[in-house]
Amino acid sequence: MDVRHNIRLLIDQLSLSRGDRTLIHGLSLCVEPGQALWLTGPNGIGKTTLLLACAALLSPDEGDIRWTSEDRNIPANQALAYAAHRGPERSELRLGEELSFWQTLLNDDMSLNDRLTSVGLQDRDDTPVAGLSAGQIRRLSLARLMASNRAAWLMDEPLSGLDVDGRALVTETLSQHLARGGLAIIASHQPVPIIGVTAKKLVLEPAISGAAS
């Protein structure tokens, strides 16, 4: 079943903590198909933690996070793809080996070469992962998102380390994904320019110490 055009994210009364620090408390929001949510705020405020929780890799203290399609719950590992800040690639492998492994796991129907070309890494499939630059690793990460064919993309700092072309690539890919009815949650310090779609911005700010005590 193709769920990509109507999946939505519902967050209800969510509380999250890392270690013994409560980061987020009582957060409720909804992200609709075709919508982007931009998470922003200073380092350590809980952006990555929120992404991890959305990917069901971290269980909330309270509240819940649901991915739904026509009022049916979709398990996180069928709903989304997650481009973490640090990728899963192994330095011992070559770029082509690494990407084609994930393509197979994700049932991507595009060929390796086309996929590499789509993120500007054509003719690089023999380069060892250890020899890729930070920007090229970001592109690989983007290629994995595209290969996933999932309705929701979670992206952690997708623009870091990228050159001008790279940023344009992220913007364009993301805009196409949203235009097709996909959904994206993007944790980023810098604004991600997306054209022609609705977006929400979730600002996480340090709580005022008086209120916190």
């Binding site: 013994d20 620090r21 980061l23 929400k200 979730l202 700010e205 209120a211």
Partner: protein
Amino acid sequence: MITRFANPQRFVGLARWLTPIFGWSALLILALGLWQALFASPAEAEHGQTVRIMYVHVPAAWSAMAAYSSIALASLISFVWRHPIADLAARSLAIPGAAFTVLALITGSLWGKPDWGTYWQWDGRMTSVLILLFIYIGYMAIWQVVEDRKRASRLAAITAMIGWVNIPIIKFSVEWWNTLHQPATISMPDSPGLAPQLLLPLALMALGYTLLLGWLTMRGMLAEIASARAARKPAPAATARVEAL
């Protein structure tokens, strides 16, 4: 029963009331048992006075095993139902359980010296108790090394359960191996065959150890709950604000 005490608050109420009862009755029964074991009961025909070590040793070995089985059961409840009190119980049973294991090993080898002529025999039961000690050490180490509390509790529960399933296999293997390599002349007295006058101190000591185990565990659990309260999570570090772009 299981869901009733999932609430730490309700558990604390019950435990505050039960803990002193366990403590004082353990003291009383252990005193009575020791008096019976060391003075009131007669020396046994085959082992003479050294049989008195048995009253300290055998219940210790029983308690060590009972404590581990309780850890495994509590771990199962904690793993399946994510029951916080079962989780606390499993964790708090580990140190007293390991202490009883050490006590069983020490008293066992002290008993072995006069009886076997050596402090250590590769006897099936003694060897199994020694292996049990290592299983305890592994279990406690998981709690030690895994920083995240929730994760530690899941992993420790898994460790306890797989250890428990393996204990009968280990015991069988060690006993089988022992019959192959040790002359079968040495054996510990089997408790069911004991004379009634030996049975009374043994029963008293076993009950006393069980109460002691209960008391130590309850105390451990109460201390854990208290320290969890003291380290209560501070107010959230962030406030969230949604804006349309």
